[in-house]
């Protein structure tokens, strides 16, 4: 008997057709994501991480891009299904948060409205029920004073707060998969740690599987059970996090690991000058 996975991507190839010469940016991408799992995706800039993620989320336009392979979500192929089918899954079963919390929120809409948007699209809840859910969700992402934030506009919030709002908006329909594309890169270090903890907690409590994209290996090590390493559009290595960290097979992976700044025990207590 074949085992059923929540998400199973096989042989995904992404080819751009918006220029004269077609350009392939992702080759033979394979990924398996099970319920409750956090899988990391690392690689240098331009290696195709975002493209793979966006293809899974169904954002890449079907015109300019040729995609081969299969993206099976609960047995349904997202690459070939009807767009209306895909829309039912987007925001409801699969959600995405981006790197830039500054530009990911609509500047002319109130925060609360934006958090509720997925509910408006995917459910028949009344205004009051939506409000209650949105407030609960804002509370869940550890924002103080959710009633106030609900009525604010994005420009009134800090970067960290906006990223929490983004997470709230992404999680409000309790999706089965959350794709987080470098969700902490634009934030400063202390906020980064808080957001990572938040994602970890949501993953535990709600059993949401997370595809965590980052070029920060130390973050990946903190939260991911498995890692995929990408380079130039190819997955060069994949496996359980600890195995990859302790026994990297590829030269490239070793380089990435050696590039992590090491904090030696006691180093921070060393007296300066």
């Amino acid at each position: 008997m074949e085992e059923k996975h929540l998400l199973e991507v096989t042989d995904l190839n992404i080819e751009f057709h918006d220029h004269l010469i077609p350009e392939t940016v992702v080759f033979d991408f394979d990924l398996i994501l099970d319920e409750g799992e956090i899988v990391g995706l690392v690689g240098e800039s331009g290696s195709g991480k975002s493209m793979s993620a966006l293809a899974i989320a169904g954002l890449l336009s079907r015109k300019d891009m040729k995609k081969r392979g299969e993206i099976l979500f609960e047995g349904k192929d997202l690459l070939t299904c009807e767009r209306s089918e895909l829309r039912k899954i987007q925001g409801n079963d699969i959600s995405v948060i981006f790197q830039e919390p500054m530009t990911s929120l609509n500047p002319v809409m109130k925060v609360g409205w934006q958090v509720e948007e997925s509910l408006r699209i995917h459910t028949n809840l009344t205004k009051e029920e939506r409000y209650a859910k949105a407030i609960a969700m804002l509370e869940d992402v550890e924002l103080d004073n959710p009633e106030k934030v609900y009525n604010q506009y994005p420009h009134e919030l800090s970067g960290g707060m906006r990223q929490r709002v983004m997470i709230a908006a992404a999680m409000i329909c309790a999706p089965k998969i959350l794709i987080a594309d470098e969700p902490t890169t634009a934030l400063d270090v202390t906020i980064q740690a808080q957001i990572v903890d938040l994602l970890k907690r949501l993953n535990k409590e709600k059993k949401t599987s997370i595809l965590f994209i980052s070029h920060d290996l130390s973050l990946i090590r903190q939260i991911c059970q498995r890692v995929l390493v990408m380079k130039g559009g190819y997955i060069v290595e994949s496996g359980p996090t600890e195995q990859i960290f302790n026994h990297p097979k590829e030269e490239y992976t070793k380089k990435l690991i050696s590039a992590i700044p090491k904090v030696e025990p006691g180093a921070k207590f060393r007296k300066k000058g």
Binding site: A57, G58, L59, K63, R87, K88, I89, Q90, G91, N92, S95, V96, F98, E100, T103, S104, L105, N106, P107, V108, M109, E117, S118, I121, H122, M166, A169
Partner: protein, 267 residues
Amino acid sequence: MNNAKKKNFNLIVGGAITGIILLMILVGIFYTPHDPNAMDASNKFAGVSFKHLMGCDNFGRDVFSRVLEGSRTTFFVAAGTVFIGTFFGVIIGALTGYYGGVVDEVLMRVIDAIFAFPSILLALVFISLFGSGKYQVILALGIAFVPSFARIVRSEFIKYKNMDYVKNARLQGASDFRIMFVHILPNTVTVLLSAIMIGFNNAVLAEAGMSFLGIGVQPPDASLGRMLSEAQAYLFRAPAYAIFPGVVIILMVLGFSLLGDGIKSEE
């Protein structure tokens, strides 16, 4: 600081002038000192007096009453024109800007074709086909105004469609229709509003021009342009007859352009 004050100045003065005009139109609906169409030969070219605040015209009709009624007609025609222009302009601009590709090519070529005619000429053709009158003028000018609105909205949609938050809406499963009119359109409101103000002015002038040429609003209906055209023959005998409708047109246009400037710089 100085700049901010100037913006406020535009907004306040524009708002005040427009407010007065609107008040005049509103009052004119319920009350005019005389019947605007009642002729009285004994008052032919009567000068400015307490009884006739703006004097009388060549038929002895009260100019003030006719200005009240005429500004209503002119306002109605301009508002109708801008409404048609904005409505179809937004739909066409949204579709072409958002989808691009074939939709864009086809619709924009049609728009270019309409735009290639001067709007008065286009209206002329239209009037000769469907006859003249208030509603024909609105329709004719409205169609002539669609292209400029469509272009403005299109460029706004091109600007916004690749924003992260629009992608985000798509990832939440929002339909194209929802993305266009619920997520993107509110972002274009400031630009659209000032375009509406400018469009309104052009419509006031176009209506006046058409009525002046005798192809717009038909007698005995009063419109500001129509009155100017009639007054022209008596410019020296009864200058007040031409001056008052002219001044109201100027105030209407001035008020709306100041208001438009004010809104634009509020951004």
